[in-house]
């Protein structure tokens, strides 16, 4: 069974007021005992605890800078230094930013293999999904062309098709992406819904309350890295919208 347990999670960012210290300044600061630090600490996530069990569809809401994306990145292990603990059961697929690791000089087909391996697919799996990815992205004619000649729409179509071609236990989404023309957007939406439907756990961040309400059965409201509310979509979004006024 898939699960996510987050306990007393805190993530700190260090903000340098001017820039990262140089070697010289680092050693100079070692000598100065009471030097004023040239940075301040900022808690993106502050003592957060929750559990997500199999079958749940969780939406995370909150205004900009509330720590939503940081939380998703911590769940996907992109941020690993934190206080508290995160334990994950199940194969996780991060769809945070699609197309990460695409190389512009490589052809579409080569990028399927490069990006696919980064997404955690094995070579065997990639061989199996390759024709389907190419067909879904409608790039048959251009697949052996370097992606630097692709239009933004073509690029997004390929990245989306690849990222959504496997069915993970835990699906992590940062906004539902769209790209390409109207017919592709509709097709992509259906594929996304199917992926969400088959995932054991879905956790997403979105600013679109209607979308979150329609896709999720539980909402976490974050504010300044703290959990403000956790409950049924209608109640929490209502509180959130009321609180914002």
């Amino acid at each position: 069974m898939s699960s996510i347990h987050v306990e007393n999670l805190s993530i700190k960012f260090r903000i340098y007021h001017d820039r990262s210290p140089s070697l010289k300044e680092y050693f100079a600061n070692l000598l100065k005992r009471n030097a004023k630090p040239s940075y301040s600490d900022f808690w993106a996530i502050n003592n957060l605890s929750f559990s997500i069990n199999a079958g749940e569809r969780v939406g995370i809401i909150g205004h900009n800078g509330a720590g939503k994306s940081t939380l998703l990145k911590a769940i996907c292990r992109i941020y690993e230094t934190y206080e508290g603990s995160i334990s994950i059961g199940g194969r996780i697929a991060p769809l945070l930013e699609i197309g990460a690791g695409f190389h512009p000089e490589f052809t579409g087909r080569e990028n399927i293999y490069l990006n696919g391996s980064i997404l955690g697919y094995s070579n065997g799996e990639l061989k199996k999904i390759e024709p389907e990815v190419i067909a879904f992205s409608e790039l048959e004619e251009f697949i052996d062309m370097p992606v630097k000649y692709y239009s933004t729409g073509m690029y997004m179509r390929l990245a989306f098709s690849l990222a959504t071609s496997m069915h993970p236990d835990i699906l992590v989404l940062d906004e539902i992406f769209s790209g390409g023309d109207a017919s592709f957007v509709a097709k992509a939406r259906n594929r996304m819904l199917e992926l969400i439907d088959k995932a054991n756990i879905m956790i997403m961040v979105s600013h679109d309350h209607l979308l979150v309400k329609s896709l999720c059965d539980r909402i976490l409201w974050l504010d300044h890295g703290r959990l403000v509310a956790d409950g049924a979509p209608d109640e929490v979004t209502e509180q959130y919208l009321a609180g914002r006024k």
């Binding site: 960012f13 260090r14 990262s20 140089s22 070697l23 010289k24 680092y26 996907c76 292990r77 992109i78 941020y79 690993e80 230094t81 991060p94 945070l96 930013e97 990460a100 690791g101 190389h103 000089e105 490589f106 293999y113 490069l114 391996s117 980064i118 997404l119 955690g120 094995s122 070579n123």
Partner: protein, 261 residues
């Protein structure tokens, strides 16, 4: 400890990414060029030929003997210096990837070292043919060369782990390292024999950690003898120290890299 074992298992599980990154590194260099991969071989070859011509005159040595010794020294030196200089920016260049998706970060310096090892082995075979053409013979001592490559690879990778993490913290290092490598080249017995320089700099050449690795290549290739046990032990100890320090720093600091990019 169990955590470290887990890390190694994870690296093995993600070897697919390593292969792709190494292939990317090699393919990109020659795509859309007429001579392709050959450029990787022609470049050092031309460089070494010019150096052999000039320095054999300067040192008043026989061109053939000098060329063989120079080739034998340049291959390990070029490998070491490329691994170290390219590792400085490895995390900085891959910032986009590191911030978007989880990958064991060691894969980045490891892919650089593996890519350069492939280049080094390829140019080694070309140079070996040239050495044979120049009148060098094949000897049993050459069977030691895989060990030389292995020790050199682990040593260079250890230094790369140290330098790559240190540069994330102190960006000045990418320039310092380049200058340092240029200086180190002249303190490494590549152009000359290790015992031919006396006086005030002899001890610098002696304590230079790269010196024994050059000898591990020069002895089998120029004198057809297996390196002495003392030399092998010295190289092995240096390798052990470099990789231990590299892994120690990596394990301690790898999770913090993302906050410093």
């Amino acid at each position: 400890m169990s955590n470290d074992k887990y890390r190694l298992a994870e690296l093995y599980a993600k070897r697919n990414i390593l292969f792709r990154l190494v292939a990317q590194q090699i393919i990109l260099r020659y795509r859309r060029t007429a001579l392709g991969f050959l450029w990787t071989l022609i470049n050092p070859l031309m460089m070494m030929s010019v150096m052999a011509l000039v320095f054999s005159q300067l040192f008043k040595e026989d061109l053939k003997t000098f060329a063989i010794a120079l080739f034998a020294g340049m291959i390990p030196w070029n490998f070491f210096s490329s691994v170290v200089s390219q590792s400085t920016t490895v995390y900085i260049n891959n910032e986009g990837l590191i911030k978007k998706i989880y990958i064991p970060k060691m894969i980045f310096p490891l892919s650089i070292a593996c890519g350069l090892l492939i280049d080094a082995i390829a140019s080694f075979f070309i140079l070996f043919i040239i050495i044979l053409g120049l009148g060098g013979g094949i000897s049993w001592a050459h069977l030691f060369l895989p060990v030389s490559f292995l020790l050199l690879f682990i040593f260079a990778f250890g230094i790369a782990l140290i330098i790559s993490i240190a540069t994330v913290y102190f960006r000045d290092l990418q320039h310092i390292v380049l200058i340092f490598l240029q200086g180190l080249f002249f303190l490494t017995p590549v152009l000359y024999k290790s015992n031919s320089i006396g006086g005030k700099v002899a001890w610098l050449i002696d304590i230079n950690p790269v010196t024994p690795f050059i000898a591990l290549f020069k002895m089998p290739l120029t004198e057809s003898i297996v390196p002495t046990v003392g030399l092998i032990l010295r190289a092995a100890l240096t390798t052990f120290l470099a990789i231990s320090l590299g892994l120690f720093l990596y394990v301690r600091l790898q999770k913090k890299i993302i906050f410093r990019l």
